[in-house]
Amino acid sequence: MAIVYRRSKGLTDVETHYCPGCTHGIIHRLVAETLEELGVLGKTIGVAPVGCSVFAYDYFNCDMQEAAHGRAPAVATGIKRVLPDKVVFTYQGDGDLAAIGTGEITHAAMRGENITTIFVNNAIYGMTGGQMAPTTLVGQRATTAPLGRDKSHAGSPIRIAEMLATLDGAAYIERVTVTSPANVMKAKRAIKKAFELQLEGRGFTMIEVLSTCPTNWGLTPVKALEWLNENMIPVFPLGVYKDITKKEA
């Protein structure tokens, strides 16, 4: 018998505080596996956001910084400019990246900052108890949209991948999800490609991962996967939005 799957060395031996079935955990693992496989754990600095993944600094087995809400790309920029040969990534939720942190992520992308952003879009503010995010779907309920997001009042969800893809500095942008083993494998490939491009110095890379929040969606973990597939993917289509390696081909 040979081990075909085991806990990645990219994760510390610490239990996470995530709710049962929250796919934040899966995404953590994919990042950890990527860093392990690329052999860069010892030269990686990760940046944790403010959000449910605020404690990510305890979970990734590499040097970590905890950033202020929304500012992870600025913090990562500070690190990367000082240590251009290291691998630097941010791990951010949709409140963190697409609300308060809109300026920082946009300008990191514009500059072609040579970092990788893992953008976990669960269409809600998880940590603070289910308030509306800029990515909340029209009609979706949230504690600050008790009757569902009303387009005429709060607009329609922001599509970050599409928006940042308009910037020249963005080298690779893909939207993936983790709702099935097959999707998990695709997500892993995307994440790995992003880090590889960073290692090649190609510029800003971002993988947007559609993720669940069973707790605040009020669904079981398994139902949450279904809800995501049925409701989120149509609004946030999966796919590659920017790939500078394509131009060259």
């Binding site: 505080h17 995530y18 709710c19 049962p20 449910c52 940590m127 108890g129 707790t215």
Partner: protein
């Protein structure tokens, strides 16, 4: 009456907070002074949750309960954490269904309630917390059963009105565990 300082503690999802608010509402309806203070934070994630309730006929000085006169321990970690803090002569109500040990102090009164068993007998696991409240009322005797039921009637209205009766039975079954 005494100055009651209560801690209700358990897992998130066990109805800990609503035991506290129901007590508080009842006390207020009886014209008593009251405060209710929850623990808060990423508690939704299956960690432990607790609330502090203070009930008195005199002014309430601080809503923080450091040394409870009564403890309702819905799970083992809660009993472990708060048992030592209970005032000598105080009361500990234990959710016997999932707490495996007994109260270790002998300077306090201990009451055990098989809340899950009762709830499953009543066919609705959600009323488990009401059995604990029933036992508390019976053991301390200053909150009125009828007032609690009035409060429940305000909570369960419309389609949920039928739940009042069920909760009433649960309260009673909890009360029955006192002096058993």
């Amino acid at each position: 009456m005494a100055y009651h300082e209560i801690i209700v503690a358990g897992f998130g999802g066990q109805g800990v907070m609503s035991i506290g608010t129901t007590m508080a509402e009842t006390a207020m309806a009886q014209g008593l002074n009251v405060s209710w203070l929850p623990s808060y934070g990423p508690e939704m994630r299956g960690g432990t949750a607790n609330c502090n309730v203070v009930i008195a006929d005199t002014e309430i000085i601080s809503p923080i309960v450091l040394e409870p006169s009564e403890l309702i321990a819905m799970n083992q970690p809660s009993l472990d954490k708060f048992e030592p803090a209970v005032k000598p002569g105080g009361l500990i109500l234990v959710n016997q269904s999932i707490v495996e040990r007994k109260v270790q102090r002998d300077d306090v009164q201990a009451i055990y309630v098989p809340s899950l068993e009762i709830a499953s007998e009543l066919g609705n696991m959600r009323v488990a917390n009401m059995t604990m409240l029933g036992a508390y009322i019976e053991a301390t005797k200053y909150l009125k059963f009828e007032t609690v039921v009035d409060i429940l009637r305000n909570i369960f209205t419309g389609k949920k009105a039928h739940l009042v009766e069920l909760n009433e039975v649960a309260l009673q079954r909890g009360a029955d565990c006192v002096n058993r």
